[in-house]
Symmetry: D2
Subunit: 336 residues, 4 copies
């Protein structure tokens, strides 16, 4: 197991300046901060890193900055998906020359390919890449990579050394491990679904590429350590707290805006994302930021917002219905 | 084409009394009303008729009442799906003895079967039924029936004489017609998707089992007539009006509550449905009833509600966000 | 925790005789066999028990036989979903009088209800039931029950004492536990997804209603015990073996035919299922039975089939493509 | 209606040379061929044009070649989606300077945005674009654009002059037309779903961006003309033939390989696509090419393949099961 990719890799957000360019000094500062807080590796140009919203030149520049700043302290897993196989292989070559430990390549997206197509795509890249490759399965965004395809790639492509799976489907992870590990003990299984990190590790995962580790690296790392050392009761409690943070950041705003808002609360000048936000989304982001500040304050990472944090509560939909009814009446009266 | 099932079949709602029993006098009155307004046939125990919410005995009783009241004036297409193949065949035998023109059998539901299973199910029933059968494809609720399965059943089962398709997928309908009509010119294709009735008829459908025809039979029937007689401009305008009514009844409440509410506005004592409605749903139903009354008044079927009908308008989500923000603040302040 | 429903409840198949009637002697024998092998409770009229394929009278009879045969040795969780709220409440009353520990009620199916509708349905039943109720969430077959709805029901209905969740979604289970356990420490969380039993228990589940326990109760029970006693390495290995069995029974045939075939190999006269099987499905079931016999033989529960069991292998799709090409050519030549 | 975008726009494939570079002479030849056969406009950098598989530079070059070759003979609708809003606006400016009639911008993909996010994205672009914009809704590949969002954009953005919808959902198209046309009579509705072109035109669409028109422009154009001139019986027959061709090209291979294969049969040197094809896919493509040649020969566009074309036939799955059983036995025997 010693040579398998393992531990917590951070899929980092890229800070932008007020003209929406890469904020290099802040990105370098962020890299140092993450490494100091114990993440085992960096994973730039992932989904959290919004690789699709940067140009090819910018993606290259991001890897250059990060490998330079990391300077060998931790391994770098470089997102390398480009427009087509040839461009992707060029990226593999470049990131190899920069000293990345491996590249991560997301399954083809936009078009939804069959498994035969997914296999052919990765096979072609793996046959020409000078650097190790991890597959990246994220079925909500890209063509799914099924178990049989992972097995075929593991069997035929020594360059393919792992998979990062963001489906969050635990039995699926077990099926992949059962299918591949006997013949490829060096193959690494990483989960991208922070909500299930502890159970994923317990059934055999080697680690994770977890967006929460970019915001609360202390917690994600500690959860990893507690689980591996068998302190399950403490790990379970921490997993529940991480789930709460994860859900708040993931589901309360357009991904990855919740993670960006939280990172700002940790003291970084993230700048605004490139995807425009409508006024209604801005309102939601403001509410989310307040909620996140309370959650982060409860973990000791920041102060409570002015006005304090409310006790947990929920509103009954039928009570809410009464209130909404009044609002609708008001809207109706204005519309006349 | 003369002997194909064709025209508009009404999937009727079943009026209930204040103890939630079948309201037989009202049901008989409703049947007469529908026939007087020109529907070509009745289709009891369909999805609109909430067949799953009645007991087996009640389902039988509903067909007995309807065949008796119809008394040969129009053909009856009797929903006959029961718990298993044997029970379904018994229902086929009984409905045959009552003089139903054919039965309609929904694809197996709850479990999602493969096409092999769907085929075996219908084949077994068709081999033992004394009455003609129409398949009923409603993929949002039951196992889908694919084109190849329809073709196999049409080829091997003379008793299977048609399909009622509620997918609303027009090219799917064309694929079925292309696959089956050459070898089975007697096979009927009925659409259950009122929103596309006119274009479905134009590409070759024989008619429809349309829930709107239970509420506004005048319109659904007229749309059918206009389309068949080639008065396309008028048909198109009527199709748009029917779409508006259909969407209001279908999407503004738990199905088929919107249709029940509209039928009440047409003067029938429908009683309450058997699926309980929460207070928030009741509020929505009240609002829907008001909207439906305006729509039906615009068609000349009822009077406008007290207070009149507002001009069409829409609210901008970003303005709405401001209002909601104030509501949320109010809720938050109460929760403390 | 002492009074929470916990442990492994078996969703039992119902043996049928050669006329497709309930085979009462075999069912009684099966109940004894299960209890002897350590299952903690019985769960008749579940999805594995094909409750939708029996008549209302038969469902009642199944519970009568099982409560009589169990005779208090283990708790019985009786599936009680009927055509509508009133019929379901009648079933609750009857099963209460028979001494069932609780009933399990699946979320409304066929129609896909909103959360308001799902809440109203369970609330109405819970307000009138004399017996404890467990919710049953199986989103692939029935209307989903979301976390907020579980919470509302737990808050407002003391009769609702647990949920059986067959989604297999581990973070979803955690979200329910986090939302409900603080205010309802007596509320039980059971997983219906055998593939994740060990991790589900590790994050706080109280047990499971697991179809595998109807076929290999020794394994499912042992997995439960190993996990609860913290023997994680052994538990993990057993979970992988159970996953393999589960996948074979679940995905190789129309559910629950794989479980029925396996139960036959354990020595029970299950009879044929009520859902007809086409010749192509029969062929697949034969192949599955052979595979299952090998898996059960490897666990020591039966002998290997005549001819022995092959070593694990897989076929490369591209090699297979060559073979299929030849088959297609043959088919084409015959078609001329 | 005179100034609405209307007619058949061809989403053209880009021929590649043997080093996978844009084959400019063949592309120019293809443009001329399409215009000569009556398409009303060109639509480069669409999904059929595989815009995601080209680099930003190549996408720009494709528009330059096409606007130059078209030279004003027909309008060009230029696909302009780039990595982010700023890059997309730059593309709008460039394509405006080249004389394109409008740009088409696909809804954000990879990430699935909410409607608030989709609105904000298009609003930002529309506020800064010097050229007219058509929205592009293709929910199977990109974030859906719902009716209310189309309406808001139509109301607030004069630059947004139309939508190309590839959902194939006819009532959805009607809902958009009903929501937008009253206030924006200049707004154009184009369907990207060739399978429903005739009924879409009959309910009010202005035309289509149809992949079939890149392969059989004669048929797609004729279908358009027959429908608009009210020759419905002939139009219906042609729509059925087009459906058959469309299905063969769309569903028998990884999109758009079927269209590329058919274009080759029309005499163009398309080169190989950039998405690698596995050996099993190559076999399927060979079979498809043969089938397409028969279909195109039946339309008079090419000769029958050597060996002739079989009469239509289908194989019964249960017969097939017998054959497959023998194959499986053979595979099993080899695996030992």
């Amino acid at each position: 197991m010693s040579d398998r990719l393992n531990g917590i890799f951070t899929p980092n957000i890229v800070p932008l300046d007020d003209r929406s360019r890469i904020n290099e000094p802040e990105l370098r500062k962020y890299v140092d901060w993450l490494i100091e807080r114990g993440v085992h590796g960096l994973y730039p140009n992932g989904s959290t890193g919004e690789f699709t919203r940067f140009t090819a030149e910018e993606r290259r520049r991001i890897i250059e900055i990060i490998t330079d700043q990391v300077s060998g302290r931790v391994p770098v897993l470089a997102g390398a998906a480009e427009a087509n196989v040839r461009e992707t292989i060029h990226a593999c070559e470049h990131y190899h020359s920069l000293g990345a430990r491996a590249v991560a390549i997301v399954s083809p997206f936009y078009y939804r390919l069959t498994q035969a197509g997914v296999f052919a795509y990765f096979k072609e890249i793996a046959d020409h890449s000078p650097i190790d490759i991890t597959l990246y399965n994220i079925p909500m965004f890209a063509s799914p990579i099924e178990v049989a395809t992972v097995r075929r790639l593991a069997d035929q492509c020594p360059r393919v050394v792992g998979i990062k799976d963001s489906s969050g489907d635990l039995p699926h992870m077990m099926r992949m491990i059962a299918a591949v590990r006997p013949s490829r003990p060096d193959f690494s299984f990483l989960t991208g679904w922070d909500a299930a990190l502890m159970p994923m590790l317990l059934i055999g995962c080697d680690g994770g590429t977890n967006a929460t580790s970019g915001v609360v690296p202390e917690i994600t790392r500690k959860l990893y350590d507690l689980t591996l050392s068998g302190q399950l009761e403490q790990a379970r409690q921490l997993q529940y707290r991480l789930l709460h943070l994860f859900d708040a950041m993931l589901y309360s705003a357009e991904f990855p805006e919740g993670f960006r808002a939280a990172l700002r609360l940790r003291g970084f000048d993230t700048g605004l994302g490139r995807q425009p936000q409508s006024p209604s989304q801005q309102l939601e982001l403001d509410a989310l930021a307040r909620q996140l500040q309370c959650l982060l304050a409860a973990e000791g990472f920041t102060r409570e917002p002015v006005g304090g944090c409310p006790a947990a509560h929920s509103v009954d939909p039928d009570q809410l219905a009464q209130i909404v009814r009044r609002v609708v009446d008001e809207i109706r009266s204005r519309a006349h």
